[in-house]
């Protein structure tokens, strides 16, 4: 799961260092990207490209492990065998995505340990949407369906980007996310067509999650600084507003189809096919992203505890005394 909600674009003025790059190599690099070629780990790349990709892939990886927490809470509470096993498998996939993504980021020169340490210290961000709580089972289902749906919109675009290892990871991730989408949709359908209590649960969960969902793709294009260079380098593949429109177009009709109400009186599709909606509260979004959301402290505390409690295991694995044990099947 991932959104660009935490990816602050680099300012347009941040071409720092580009003047120090070899102009011939730079021109060749840009020509390769323009031809649709993928850039591989050992290929030459400008420092700015490397830095921006590390930041982006790292944030994506963090979003996967932090994102596994709100849904993870419901693994032990999932109603019935079928849901319990599916919820486990779904959340496990997300952790697996983190593993893939940390590996992709490592090809650019930053270790997983450094990335996790930056996460805990608040130096690097994760998708803002996971700073909100999953109060009920229905909230977890809304995440599985609509947050994963948003992630697919975002990731399908990024899978066409220029960095080979990231694109390949995204392709695998999207294939799994599409199962999550089906799982989430199935669970939501059961609630929306179920008993009065279930219908109330799912409507309330949708009401709670709609505002975060609307910020999932990041600030409006009007507000975010346009970064022509990231588009040219195929690091950023689609604008925030473009992704948001695509999401609304695909999922609002499906939500309505279930008899659910989207809690935005202004939401409607124009005659020219553009969705109108109440502008999200971007001030609140900024406040949450900067650490003051309902769950920021809790999410990082869980991650920090996991890192601290598991430190002895990692020390032991690195011990020169340790005999490497090959798991022979």
């Amino acid at each position: 799961m991932y959104g660009s909600a935490s990816t602050h674009d680099i300012p347009a003025s941040a071409t720092t260092g580009l003047e120090n790059e070899d102009p011939i190599l730079l021109a060749e690099f840009e020509a390769r990207i323009a031809r649709g070629e993928k850039i591989e780990p050992r290929d030459w790349m400008p420092a700015l490209y490397r830095k921006q990709l590390i930041r982006m892939i790292e944030q994506h990886a963090h979003s996967e492990i932090i994102g596994s927490l709100p849904e993870g809470t419901w693994i032990t509470r999932a109603p019935g065998f079928r849901r319990k096993m599916a919820q486990m498998a779904k959340v496990q996939d997300e952790v697996g995505h983190a593993q893939l993504l940390y590996s992709a980021a490592e090809t650019l020169g930053k270790t997983r340990e450094q990335m996790l340490s930056d996460l805990i210290n608040g130096k690097s961000k994760y998708s803002n949407v996971f700073n909100y709580p999953a109060f009920t089972w229905a909230d977890s289902n809304v995440i599985s369906w609509l947050i994963d749906a948003g992630a697919i919109v975002n990731q399908m675009a990024n899978a066409k980007g220029s960095y080979g290892p990231y694109c390949r990871a995204l392709e695998r991730i999207c294939a799994e996310e599409s199962f999550h989408l089906k799982y989430g949709h199935d669970a939501v359908v059961h609630l929306a067509t179920g008993t009065p209590i279930q219908r109330r649960m799912i409507q309330e969960a949708l009401n709670r999650w709609w505002p975060p969902i609307m910020t999932f793709f990041g600030p409006s294009d009007k507000m975010s600084v346009h970064t022509e260079i990231l588009m040219r380098w195929k690091v950023k593949m689609a604008s925030n507003d473009h992704c948001r429109q695509q999401f609304l177009d695909m999922y609002v009709p499906k939500i309505w189809e279930l008899g659910l109400t989207v809690p935005d009186a202004k939401l409607r599709k124009n005659e020219d096919g553009v969705w109108e909606f109440t502008e999200p509260d971007w001030e609140d979004f900024k406040r949450v992203i900067n650490g003051d959301g309902p769950c920021n402290a809790e999410r990082l505390a869980v991650r920090r505890a996991a890192e601290e409690n598991g430190a002895w295991v990692r020390r032991a694995l690195l011990s020169p005394k340790a005999k490497y044990v090959k798991p022979l099947a």
């Binding site: 596994s68 486990m88 959340v91 002895w312 694995l317």
Partner: protein
């Protein structure tokens, strides 16, 4: 065939798998490395699936639906050993529990694959293939960490000492014991315990860990008769939290 004895055995097997599966799933987001979050989740999914198959056999013998059996009983109606209900604690405890438990479980299902009750034998033949990977995982980690830093060795040794009496509780006999043996349904607890001891002794001898003299330990019994630790009922309450909102609803 003595159906009551068979059901007693199936409940013990199924409840152990369900409760440990549930516990293993609690490692989500908390593992010492991501790969262990993933591994514990895989084992949890397997164990949940195993318990479902065993509850399905019970359903075929006239017991309630698997969801009802798993999600609506209270602690005194559970037949699991106390070992599986203990909280996950730190990784050293969960790893040692996993090692001790799965070595017993794989022997159980190997034996059950020759059960005179063919539906159980069929299920056991399938499950033992999966359990092979659980013991493989446990052995790899025990050998690796059990020969590494003093810190790791001390932690594992303490957890081993703490956990062994509970692990011996896995072999607690019930009134069904003689019947399941005489009818060829199962080889019985003594036989499994003897082979288990042999296997874990062999494995631990390849590490810096010491296996205490098991004859000096007092097994923690009671689980097979519905006597449980203070940890089981809260686990069950959590597991059934949503299901109990409306047990007749489709979730």
């Amino acid at each position: 065939m003595n159906t009551d004895a068979l059901k007693d055995l199936l409940y013990r097997l199924a409840d152990d798998q369900l409760i440990l599966g549930h516990r293993n799933s609690e490692w989500n987001g908390l593992g010492p490395i991501l790969e262990e979050d993933i591994a514990f989740s895989s084992m949890a999914q397997d164990k949940l699936g195993h318990s479902l198959q065993l509850y399905t056999l019970l359903h075929q013998l006239g017991e309630a639906e698997p969801d009802t059996v798993a999600f609506t009983r209270n602690a005194p109606q559970f037949h699991c050993a106390q070992l599986v209900e203990l909280p996950i604690g730190e990784y050293d405890f969960s790893l040692i529990r996993h090692f001790l438990y799965d070595h017993a479980e794989i022997l159980r299902f190997e034996a059950l694959s020759h059960s005179s009750y063919e539906p159980l034998a069929q299920v056991a033949r399938k499950l033992k293939g999966e359990l092979k990977y659980h013991t493989l995982h446990a052995n790899t980690w025990i050998k690796q960490l059990g020969s590494s830093t003093e810190e790791a060795i001390e932690r594992l040794q303490n957890s081993l000492n703490y956990t062994l009496p509970y692990a011996l509780g896995l072999f607690e006999k019930t009134a069904a014991e003689d019947d399941v043996i005489s009818e060829g349904i199962f080889v019985g607890e003594d036989e499994i315990r003897a082979r288990w001891q042999e296997n874990i002794t062999k494995l631990l001898s390849q590490t810096a860990l010491n296996l205490p003299d098991l004859t000096t330990l007092t097994p923690v019994y009671g689980g097979r008769f519905g006597e449980h630790t203070e940890y089981l009922q809260p686990l069950l309450d959590e597991m059934a939290e949503v299901f109990r909102v409306d047990p007749t609803a489709e979730w």
